[in-house]
């Protein structure tokens, strides 16, 4: 599958440095720890729900690491916590969506270069195409990175987005995390032809089907794709093969559709453990470094949890104030009525 995209030269960096590899590890540990903690938060009643990404840390950290936040823009689904963390988004503001504070999260998407958290499956893929075409119209060199999954690949909007992007040569990187499961439905019952990447050929879009659990492979592929799109060659599709090790959400019960044996076989080796072994083998990091990274992750999680616990509800007036830029008399009247009847003022 890789053969479709020529090895990019300018723009794609050479081999990763030891510092970069260690940073990738630290990010993956931070994401892993926050992710597993968030499930605990839900069980403890700190947040009402969460969509875990256990097992997808390499795919998310590796791809997010390739983003240049001074010029690129990222379009997430509801399961890109690892991407957000890698991009340096305020994580209390990000996780607030799971606290049910505000649907899109409290972070500023324009400053973060991360579109609001998107609950519609494949909902933001077309937005990436529009944003990317805007770069072309403006003569800028930003690239749109859009995430979706194997389940979302069934949506018509993904087809429209890939066709539009290819016709317009829009600088878009379509990043598919094929995690094997769309809630309870496995990829073989979801994706005809067995691969989303294979579809790209039909649009004349180069595609990379990669080991999504190898963070180095993910980062290198994403950098190649960015270089390709940034150079005016149009969109690229990356299909990162990974595995959703946890449930779809904290309300899900995978025991109803897959056995523990199937989970073990499908999941393969933990991507975090794979990077750890690699760093050890290459003599880039030692146990002290890993312990330090974990301690930092724990401290970070504690800070984020404290922030989430301290997060009050947004004022009800925001329901009305944030609908339009220019409000309407009807909305003002409803707000006044609400204020009078609920706040007794």
């Amino acid at each position: 599958m890789d053969t479709l995209l020529p090895v990019a030269s300018g723009g794609a960096a050479g081999p990763l440095t030891a510092d970069e590899l260690r940073e990738l590890y630290s990010l993956m540990v931070a994401v892993r720890h926050l992710d597993t903690s968030a499930i605990a938060w839900q069980r403890q009643g700190i947040i009402p729900g969460y969509a875990p990404e256990l097992g997808q840390e390499a795919a998310q950290v590796g791809s997010g690491y390739a983003v240049d936040t001074t010029r690129d823009f990222v379009f997430p689904t509801y399961r890109e916590m690892g991407v957000a963390r890698t991009m340096g988004v305020d994580m209390v503001a990000y996780m607030s969506t799971h606290k049910a504070t505000w649907h899109g999260g409290l972070y500023n998407p324009m400053e973060s270069r991360l579109a609001p958290i998107q609950a519609v499956v494949a909902g933001s893929v077309l937005h990436a195409v529009g944003w990317a075409h805007g770069q072309t119209l403006d003569g800028k060199d930003g690239v749109a990175l859009t995430y979706f999954g194997d389940g979302a690949s069934s949506q018509g909007d993904v087809h429209e987005a890939m066709n539009f992007a290819a016709v317009m040569k829009a600088p878009v990187v379509f990043f598919v995390q094929n995690n094997g499961w769309a809630i309870s439905v496995p990829t073989e019952r979801q994706v005809a032809g067995g691969s989303v990447a294979a579809r790209a050929a039909g649009y004349g879009i180069p595609a990379l089907k990669i080991d999504g659990d190898d963070v180095v492979a993910v980062l290198e592929a994403t950098r190649r794709a960015f270089a390709h799109a940034r150079s005016g060659n149009g969109p690229v599709l990356i299909e990162a093969m990974t595995y959703r090790r946890g449930p779809h959400s904290t309300s899900d019960d995978p025991g109803r559709y897959r056995s523990l044996d199937e989970e073990r076989d499908g999941a393969g080796t933990d991507p975090l453990e794979r990077l750890r072994q690699r760093l050890l083998a290459d003599g880039i990091a030692d146990e002290a470094f890993f312990a330090e990274a974990l301690a930092a992750a724990k401290a970070e999680e504690e800070q984020i949890r404290t922030g989430i616990q301290g997060l009050g509800s947004r004022p009800g007036s925001e329901m009305f104030d944030l609908v339009f830029q220019e409000t309407t008399p009807a909305l003002q009247a409803q707000a006044a009525n609400w204020r009078e009847e609920s706040e007794h003022v």
Binding site: F73, P109, P116, L126, H127, G130, H133, G134, A161, F324
Partner: protein
Amino acid sequence: MSNSILEGVDAAGDDTAEKTAENTASPASTTVMSMQQALNRALDEVLADNPKAVIFGEDCGRLGGVFRITDGLQAKHGVQRVFDTPLAESGILGMSVGLAMAGFHPIPEVQFDGFAYPAINQIVCQIARMNYRSRGTMPMPITLRVPSFGGIRAPEHHGESLEALFAHVPGLKVVSPSNPHEAYHLLKYAATRPDPVIFMEPKSRYWQKGEVDAARHDTGGGSPTGAKVMREGRHLTLVAWGAMVSRCLQVAELAAEDGIDIEVLDLRWLKPIDAEALAASVRKTRRAVVVHEAPLTSGLGAEVAQLITQSCFDTLKAPVERVTGFDVPYPSGDLEDEYIPNIDRILFGIQRVLEYKRG
């Protein structure tokens, strides 16, 4: 009201409004043009005024749109400002969201009303909510032009009236012009707003000519978002929008022959609705009939009737009457005239209100 008003009514010919307009003296800034020309001119000026405005959709570029509303604009403003997209409405509207995020003012066209259905997900779940979802940091200044309503003997899904559907969605604004002057000014206004506006063009009126006073932003009182009294009267208010306005004006002329003095209120904005204008008119006339092409049940007429009832309950002489399309799929051209409120049906509605007896 006697039955005599219903006699001798000619359902054909719908040009009373134009004749009336032509008979009045015109200021120098006035030009006679069709609604198609007025819309085209408005878009031309919007493109010239705002370098971030872009027009796109199916056949909008070289062809100038199937109704020629964007005729000549690509040649004048370039293929980057006015361009054709692949034939997919969700793609067009989804792309608009991304362009708006990138600082553009997209003016997409959905070729026909019914073609908006495949794009409903992007309109309802994305365009309407992005400002809210992003806490006001990602406004959606998208002006979605939709050739709307029936009356041109077109195929299925080419004659729909979607205003109630759009008006029900939080985050959208909806407007429909009734004549060339309104079309010019309302489109120029809508296309400079920071919020998404669904601009419903009455396709059956595209080729009717009327005076456009480019210098006169608003007439008939009220703000750019207000309703407009198109004809003053004392006995009853006809509330309408889009293509139904000229029909109601014609009805008013006919009723006047029998001494019934009808006020015609062009609602213009279907969201937000100008409740004050409705109240002001009906407080005076004490009777109202709302006319629309869309099906009756849960149509915008119900909203209008409630607004009037709320403000004028004590003074109303009769319940607000609705003269509308029926709760049926929009019919083929042969049955179109049976479906769209015609002069007879509007007159019957007026009669029911005038003859209403309490108790």
